[in-house]
Symmetry: C2
DNA sequence: AAACTTGTAAAGGTATTTATTACAACTTTG
DNA sequence: CAAAGTTGTAATAAATACCTTTACAAGTTT
């Protein structure tokens, strides 16, 4: 299993929007070209980012823009926006353990606390990384390939 | 997306094996009853745990046993045994970004380092929790429901 | 009005996961 | 040694989740 690629697509999109913002209108079609995915996928991700207040889009005229400073958007914000994982839902539980068995009846509660802590620690790491970090690293990569 | 339920099934199984070890022979059929899953699924998980040296099983006579002390088996050991997630594979990348675009060509490398760190920090948390912790908590839950 | 773009629903396809069936190999017991 | 019970594993089917594509209404610009 993997965290949905919508998350890395979202980071890709946001990096593109910032990179090309002064150069051209960044439409879903253009972004689809860079990501190499269908434009409807891109529009779906943009929809989620818009609902989270991270980007603005305009019908008709087209083009997406980032609404906040890059160092005010954490990877956690993006992760939450594209709805990667339910609250406490990182670890899948098997449905309907047998309640006639003392273990089946209680194991879920016993595991929950620990697994929630693990998920929280992962999400806390996401909060420490900002879109600005990724954009800077991407630009370094681009400069490295030219020099 | 979620981490496969084989992980929580494995913890459930191991807790059962320990809990019932002095009382009865713990067969895959019995475990399937507690988990409420098909016995073949249980045998598959037991196979993986056996390959990792966490349990031993016996053909014919039947029954599974844990090979180490519970406080020497971390949730990370179990997580690795049941092959939840590939190395650096927690976050799914969209395949084939457009290499004609400077962002498409470089974003992957720029994200990789950060996402690997996040996955590592999650896995390090798994190393801090032992099967003994989960078993103790489960027994506390059982005692609480009786008293 | 024409051309272009976003927003979203709906249908189709693909991949992954889980469940089931089947049976060979092994162990114990009478 | 035969019968009963169990593990180990392959193969197939079913269910679920995910991604892609088609279609079109609604908005904007020229």
């Amino acid at each position: 299993m993997q965290i949905t690629s919508r998350f890395t697509i979202a980071i890709h999109i946001l990096t593109c929007i910032d990179y090309f913002k002064d150069e051209r209108r960044v439409t879903s079609e253009f972004l689809a070209g860079s990501v190499n995915a269908n434009a409807v996928i891109i529009r779906g991700v943009l929809s989620q980012l818009r609902a989270a207040g991270i980007v603005s889009t305009r019908q008709g005229s087209g083009g997406a823009a980032i609404t906040r400073a890059l160092n005010e958007i954490s990877l956690y914000d993006i992760y939450k926006a594209v709805d990667c994982i339910d609250e406490n839902g990182l670890f899948g539980f098997h449905a309907n353990p047998n309640t006639d068995c003392p273990i089946g009846r209680n194991i879920h509660k016993a595991m929950d606390k620990h697994l929630t802590n693990i998920q929280n620690s992962m999400e806390n790491e996401l909060k420490k990384i900002y879109l600005s970090d990724v954009v800077e690293d991407t630009i370094k990569q681009i400069q490295a390939e030219n020099g």
